[in-house]
Symmetry: C2
Subunit: 249 residues, 2 copies
């Protein structure tokens, strides 16, 4: 049961043991990719669907002047481009940040999965949570100061790594350079550095190599006004205005 794909989908629908067997089968064969390698580029028609089983990948868009905006992060268990089939072509690129192992699902396999109503529901749940995450990122960039924005991203990643069993207590591996963080947050490398340092100095986060830990999760969540509702995890729905703040406790 250490399959992050299955762990994630369990949150989207009630699966049977048979469902899990199917999912295990389709995600068992993986292809290794190096860090910073494109999986599919903007403008291409999607064919196989990509599923991250190990490592960290992202969606991004490049501007003519060379600027890059990362618009989504893919952790193990995340599907990259499931429904773009409907749209016909990619309006953005997908690439790895670290070395990854990806499963590739053929259109036939995808059809087989979506024919199963429980799995289909779980996959759509994933797509809609992706969209909700995008909305939250927009709020983050539009309304929060740089330090809070980074704190919010850290809260989100902690939750998502926990979801697939890849967090250890209050810590996880933040496998991104500050430049990549900057492209995610819409800030500059220099400013990300300063703000991360400020978060460390204030004791809200602790960094040892790539491992980032959050000594007081509630404090960090309150600092950046993090509310996990948008991740739509069945058991962590917070009572609005209640005490179980942030669903992180």
């Amino acid at each position: 049961m250490d399959n992050p794909f299955i762990r994630k989908l369990e949150h989207g629908a009630k699966l049977t043991e048979e469902d899990r067997e199917v999912l295990r089968a389709v995600s068992s064969v993986t292809r290794p990719l190096h860090a910073r390698q494109d999986v599919i580029g903007e403008g291409e028609p999607p064919f196989d669907v990509h599923l991250v089983m190990e490592g960290l990948a992202c969606r991004y868009k490049l501007l003519p002047d060379g600027k890059r905006q990362i618009v989504a992060l893919f952790l193990p268990g995340d599907i990259c481009d499931l429904h773009v089939q409907i749209l016909g072509w990619m309006d953005h690129s997908i690439g790895t940040l670290t070395a990854c192992r990806l499963a590739e699902l053929s259109p036939a396999t995808v059809d087989r999965l979506t024919a199963n109503p429980r799995i289909n529901r779980a996959l759509w749940w994933g797509t809609l949570v992706d969209e909700a995450t995008l909305r939250e990122w927009l709020v983050n960039m539009g309304q929060r100061s740089a330090d809070r924005q980074l704190a919010h991203l850290i809260c989100e990643l902690l939750m998502r790594y926990r979801l697939v069993g890849l967090a250890e207590g209050n810590s996880f591996m933040l496998a991104m350079t500050q430049e990549e963080l900057a492209d995610t947050a819409g800030l500059t490398t220099v400013h990300v550095n300063r703000m991360m340092r400020a978060l460390r100095k204030s004791g809200l986060i602790v960094i040892e190599g790539q491992r980032i830990s959050v000594p007081d999760v509630l404090a960090l969540a309150q600092f950046c006004d993090f509310d996990a509702n948008y991740l739509h995890l069945a058991n962590t729905r917070t009572n609005w205005g209640g005490a179980a703040e942030a669903g992180l406790a």
Copy 2:
């Protein structure tokens, strides 16, 4: 054929005359709403699905300190909350900006629509375009300066109003206050005012009352680096790097 809902969905799938008849039927009964009225609030479970037939509505999130971020705009023909059913509860609110007429689709009606494969495909197309739009907004906020960001939004709205037949040539009714524009762009009212004025002074846009017109669409698109690919309109796919820039010509 002046039904914006049908006009929009035509872009997502090839519909038959029967399909159109069904869509016409479900969107014929509308409820009037005043300006600045909530349709559904964050935290509520969605029931009826809302469809804008007239007016302008939006998705938004409020922060504890009272700040608001508008994360989507709904023009006539847009569906507000179709698939949130899967998620169980709203992670954001939906409200009107101007007076609106909304059709309300019961769960049974929605089931009937999604049982039709062509309509189902068109509806999912709409959902995925919403997501692509969200990504583009993120790029907008993260990487573009305030004036370009506003220009980009204007380009997008022009395209989308044209799509449903509500633009007249190169102009449309921009029924938003500068405060609402500010909440959309993640800027302050004052700064929106100054940047809009700069756009007017440079001749890129012309404003008469609520009507905004774009004398040279290509110039505006180039100014803000607008590329309509993310709207996934079947016939306007631009050749990458080609001359039919922006799909606006």
